[in-house]
Amino acid sequence: MTTVRWCDGAMVRRCARQCVVQRCALVACLLLAADARAQTTADAAAAAFKDDVHAAAGLACSACHRSAAAGMYDAPARTATAPLCATCHGDAAYMRKFDPQLRVDQFAQYRTSGHGKRMEAGDGRVATCNDCHGAHGVRRVRDARSPVAPLNVVATCGRCHGDAARMALFGRQATAPEEWSASVHAAALVKRGDTSAPTCVSCHGSHGATPPGVASVANVCAQCHLREAELFRASPKRDIFEALGQAECLVCHGNHRIESPPDSWVGVQEGAVCTQCHDATGDSGAAIVDIRRRLDGLQAALSAADAILTRAEHAGMLVDEGRLALQTAREHQVQSRALVHAFAAAPFAKTADEGLAAARRAHEAGEAAMRELQVRRQGLGVATLLVLAFLVTLWAKIRRLPPA
């Protein structure tokens, strides 16, 4: 057979004909009997393969379908798939020819993953290469159409990890993808289009996917949330959590459904995360209450300043300086919220107080604008009275003009 770039329906039929000639009657029959189905799947595979990175690199069907020469195109066994891909993708000398930057450790990583270990033990139900990357339409990860591109990868993992029936077989829950969808991370990715926002693979890895261990959670989160992680690691909490065997960030923030943390999480009342360990008693209770009081005070000052500035703006006043001060106050609010992770009152209080002062300045600017507005209206009032008096007198004068 001649080498072909891809296999289309016509070619499958040509193969069948050749089989008849070559007295492989059984194969020919099978092929022809399954023609309708085979033709469509073969067509679909062939069509998909046209847009495949391997086709673009000049590979043919036979690269994976090793018995293609014999006219046989059956899929490799699931347990054999990863080793098959690795024959090329684990071969640095070979891959370099296509792209010197390509990594070749995927298979090695895969073998350390939950998926890889089971697969190696002969359990074909877990994910292997083509489950995530596809088989005939494999695209580069940075191609937005790839099933593992940032916007698609959660759905791809979710095909199994969001399927309760499938997960039940492994004694696992299928809630993670849905929980993630309600997280700030999902909002950043989907609503804001920030493709650097974390998806499954950012925390669990891709080829070496496993749940991060208790001790490594902070490292995972710190990829982005470095400031909080630094503060946390320098704080007394780190040793305490370690001693308790608690998973750092997760203790307060949870895992998949990471929500925007409200100030009310700090506190000793119902619903506050501190209550897992603390109550209102003792120094720590007092410190928590104090931090919360300042957070609330800052937020209230910000809202009040924003409200009065908005009111002034709606009345047509420009309050740039007020907005600038409000911006500064917001910045301090953001910083003070980060500083909560130092679990100490002093550095937090300093920043929060600076924020409060800025919010007050913003509020004063708003008040000044409202006062100015008042002055304008009073001025208008005086002028209008003068005009009215003038008009009344003028009218009297007009009435008293000598008859025409």
């Binding site: 630094e230 600038l324 980060a338 002028a383 005009v387 003038f390």
Partner: protein, 147 residues
Amino acid sequence: MTHAEEPARRGVLNWLLGLWGGGVLASIVYPVARYLAPPDIPEAAALSTNAGSAQALAPNSGRVVPFGARPAIVIRTPAGELRAFSATCTHLDCTVQYRPDLQRIWCACHNGEYDLNGRNVAGPPPRPLDPYDANVTGDEIVITRRA
């Protein structure tokens, strides 16, 4: 009504008319005069701002200056080049600063880092900083927004 009364009344009327008319005129002239007097801040700060002495900005350092209603940062790279960016972090709007130890622009709020070209290279910032033009006239650094 006698003839004597009539002109008297008209006199009062004219007098009143003059009084109120003068008031009306005053309420036109006063705002106009105030408008004509040069305001305390003589010009609209628009597209460019002075960012202080160029001499005083050593290599591997930066300076945050107000630019309109927002801050801008001007840096001198270790190689001595001047660059300017919006100093508003693209993550949650904190004001960034220059970190000589990292040789990067750094946001204290969540440890966001931008390289010397303003590209977001570490931490949460999703986008690069908006670049401005920095030029030197005399010893004065002038930052200009790109139109």
